[in-house]
Symmetry: C2
Amino acid sequence: MNNARSQFSAADESFMRRALGLADRAKGATFPNPAVGAVVVDAAGRVVGEGATGVCGGPHAERRALKQAGGAAAGATMYVTLEPCSHFGRTPPCVDAVIEAGVGAVVAAVKDPNPLVNGKGLRRLRARGVAVRTGLLGKEAALVNEDFFWAVANRRPWVALKLAMTLDGRIADCGGGSKWITSAASRQIVQDIRRRHGAIGVGSGTLAADDPKLTARCGRKTYYPARIVFSSTGNIPKGSYFMTHTDEARSIVVVKNNNKSKRKKGIERRGVEYWYTGASDDAESIDTFLDMAYAEGINSILIEGGQRLASAFLENGFVNKLYLFYGGRIFGDGLNGLSFSRGLTVNSPLVLGDVSYQRIGDDLLATGYIKNLTF
Amino acid sequence: MNNARSQFSAADESFMRRALGLADRAKGATFPNPAVGAVVVDAAGRVVGEGATGVCGGPHAERRALKQAGGAAAGATMYVTLEPCSHFGRTPPCVDAVIEAGVGAVVAAVKDPNPLVNGKGLRRLRARGVAVRTGLLGKEAALVNEDFFWAVANRRPWVALKLAMTLDGRIADCGGGSKWITSAASRQIVQDIRRRHGAIGVGSGTLAADDPKLTARCGRKTYYPARIVFSSTGNIPKGSYFMTHTDEARSIVVVKNNNKSKRKKGIERRGVEYWYTGASDDAESIDTFLDMAYAEGINSILIEGGQRLASAFLENGFVNKLYLFYGGRIFGDGLNGLSFSRGLTVNSPLVLGDVSYQRIGDDLLATGYIKNLTF
């Protein structure tokens, strides 16, 4: 096995971190592909080329880095955050480009869990005399594409849930007021979290109340994940941003209904797709929706509320990751962030795994993964 | 002014930190006196004596340190976390002992805000030729006795509120289950927070449901703050720990009632004091209770719930400091930690000041002060 960390030098790690940075910055612009970064380094330790995955259908990170390197790629080492692909997808296999360029060695952070690749790319490189090492910063590389890897393995979109609450767990005051519970700095982090997802989902109540843009405004660049509104009726306010800006992003209304024969998608009216789940039960409807979404190339969804949608996703085991923002304030009453139809008990609560806490000024961001989906 | 930090050396700071450590460890055993630490250092930089405030009526920190130092105190420097007292209280003035011992210099972290002292002690030392410097680690020293200083200035007990919640703000599940929401490590920190308070208060519902000991079990040592139960009827379960262990700690039942003539305290039955506030309104009753408590030498109270008591104290502006523990779990329903009778709005919430967040394993402790008491 070539995955012991000790085989890597500090320089190796530094180049791989650079590749990870490229991957991380590309996140959100590569859907439905994983975000990958590649750095080509010559024998003298100079970076001669680098690149990240571009928009869907464009060249992969490896080809971009090789193009930049040109002739200097011969005999060089390529640091890449994900095993190069070996199959024809929207673009030809990257391993061929690596071999053609005469790259002498490849350091890959992780193997591609995609069954179409999964070690085949690395084997092909080795068979053609390229020295291959793997496992450098593998955990970090897996984290960048945790959603993608999970989605491919489970053939379902990765679902993250974000809530912005007071310290007493409220997402709105008694009058419905929620602007703003968290600070501007926290809300900027939300924009960056949005960017990393293929779609943003909200309930129709939230859409009607807040008329959100559902874009990811990150510095000078704005990202446009797919927009999904969950509705029982399919009636969305005609003047809403959602209905009037369908040119910006894929716009989907998911309609819960109990007419099995109406389970269908792709009905498009005025640029809006209407997806009928054919199920009136929340869990069943979401379940069907997730199948539809994956089939439609949506690998990850960030659910942003309100209470009912968030609770339905979380209670029924459809959430992978939680982003809970807390403003340093208290309402003492109002709308709870979560309200399950069947509350859990102290003996079998929903326990978060890999919890992390990040202070943002006087706010706090708690992130965690769903540990037990068996409740 | 002698309070510029720059006049102090690293050695000065180190000795004062040692004195602060002594004060901090003494906290909880000195009520109703502040917790003070004193370290005596000779000309060669050796610690020749140290001490902390003992139980009420016993010698103060300065006298203990001087006794340990003996003849070595002559010409030495004393580091003390609070200005030495200059008045006769339960013990004779410490400044006299300092002068008699021939101490050459005193470094005091802060002046004593007690109007009976407030600079008089330091002036008397200077008048007798003792070199005096103040302001070293003053903020840290003020923090150790923040409750005491506030109580003396306001002639009311300092009130802290502790809640242990899920990440969705619940203190119990739908069945009332709350053991346990937070980890053993968090609960040990609660014991240490209890130790630092002169009294622990709970509602009668919490007492009936949990039958808490209300002691502070810190390592091998157990502390016994006064126990206060808030009740509308005065009826406390006869077999409860509270009713059967009145020999351990001062045990008080605060009875809310609307008979003004019944406002009285000190009625003792079987070791339990019954305090009648003569007010049926929550705010009025707590207000009266706090006056009674201060007059009875209770400088600080830690309120531990339940929801109704916590909300009444917080909503009506009686809380100084919050300790909010979050377990890394979610119930999705159950009892909210807080439920005000008049919920606040997003435009005028209760904002915490000096918020700090401390990770405890997968749990989180948020502490903060009440910033706006004007809502």
